[in-house]
Amino acid sequence: MSPPFLYALVGIGLFCLGFHALIVHAHLLRKILAINVMGSGVFLNLVALGDRGTAATPDPVTHAMVITGIVVAVSVTAFALMLLLQMAAETGHTELTGEGSEQR
């Protein structure tokens, strides 16, 4: 199996690992970590599949999209962490409680 496909499979594995952690964990910080891992998996997949050519340089469009993706991921992470801190400051816990309607 050539390196591009090897890394593409690793990217799929990371995506599924992150998705599982996102579903199963209750703590919001772990969910944020899980979303980041999912994003990294998708980026790895993109760049790996862009490296399949025979030219000297691999496909630069996938590189540009992944750089954009990394910056957007850090923006999302920063905002999500602010929301987490705000929620902890107002309610005192860091997990989404199951009680729903009585809260607000």
Partner: protein, 320 residues
């Protein structure tokens, strides 16, 4: 040489399995601090994977932004969390158990296994050799004004994506600021070592950022990597106890933050209205325009990342 190809395959397999193992440790560690540290190491090994895939620009961005800045943000949040959690919140603080975990876990594993199998099958059925868009980019590279294909794609061929991207960064900061009222990071006096380190490294980091910006036209580098290094310099100074002068944080800071997206928008409007299509650069002026855009964007990105790290809206209690 056959052994060389085999060694390279072994290296790729080691990096790949290392990535999966590190991600598992990051997501499954019982203690949050360890999970965050595993995540930063995961980002660093990911940079190795980018280098193996011939993506040095992406490796630079990943190390500076993905591993460095994201790690700093996560740690800054972890430090502030215990003071905010009440005893009631702490009672359920193991963080890894939720009602119905048993069924949810098995269901999730089963469904995701199906998804994984489907994705693996579809990826493996792609053709083994595919040029992608590299030939088109190569054919149009001289007309783009730079000789680094990734910079050409980012700031010329797909400049619209970059326009939206700098706006997303600004939006995240606006959202974080609109939440307001977060407790400021605890300001402890830095020891002599951290103080000296900050004083030594900050000018050097500014120089490195300028170098990355300049070299981005010809070699791996560019506005985002340079902006991330500037942001890192600001984070270092903030950690060493430096705070910007209050006169700077009123208007000038906001001007710096808006300058990057604003210039992009201005150039987009000008090129869109004066004939031609949106963000179409003539080959004569493209090089200069790209450098101008990158320079202003670097300052904006550095300021935005530093402001995101600091968290609290500056001059918060002054009737803004």
């Amino acid at each position: 040489m056959e052994t060389l190809a085999l060694l390279q395959w072994v290296l790729d397999a080691l990096i790949g399995s290392g990535l999966l193992w590190l991600a598992w440790r990051a997501l499954a560690s019982p203690q949050l601090l360890r999970a965050v540290v595993w995540f930063v190491v995961f980002g660093l090994v990911m940079a190795l994977a980018w280098v193996r895939l011939d993506a040095p620009d992406v490796a630079l961005a990943e190390v500076a932004i993905g591993a460095g800045l994201t790690g700093a943000l996560l740690l800054a949040t972890l430090v502030r969390l215990p003071a905010l959690e009440t005893a009631q919140g702490e009672a359920r603080q193991s963080g890894m158990r939720s009602p119905g975990t048993g069924i949810l876990r098995y269901l999730s594993v089963a469904l995701l296994s199906l998804v994984a199998v489907g994705l693996v099958y579809s990826v493996l059925s792609f053709p083994a050799i595919s040029e992608g868009l590299a030939p088109e980019v190569g054919a149009n590279l001289e007309a783009s004004g730079v000789s680094n294909p990734v910079t050409a794609v980012l700031l010329n061929f797909r400049a619209y994506d970059t326009l939206l991207e700098v706006h997303v960064l600004l939006l995240a900061l606006l959202g974080a600021w609109s939440l307001g009222g977060l407790p400021a990071p605890p300001a402890t006096a830095p020891g002599p070592v951290l103080d000296t380190l900050a004083r030594l490294l900050a000018p050097l980091l500014i120089l490195v950022a300028a170098y990355l910006l300049w070299i981005g036209a010809r070699a791996p580098g560019g506005a985002f990597q340079a902006g991330a290094v500037l942001g890192a310099a600001s984070v270092l100074l903030l950690l060493a106890g430096w705070r910007p002068h209050p006169a700077f944080t009123r208007l000038p800071l906001r001007l710096v933050l808006v300058a990057g997206p604003g210039l992009f928008l201005l150039i987009a409007l000008v090129t869109g209205l004066t004939g031609g299509s949106l963000l179409e650069f003539s080959p004569v002026r493209a090089g200069m325009l790209i450098f101008l855009l990158e320079a202003v964007a670097t300052l904006s990105i550095g300021a935005t990342l530093a402001a995101l790290f600091f968290g609290e809206r500056p001059n918060h209690g002054e009737g803004q």
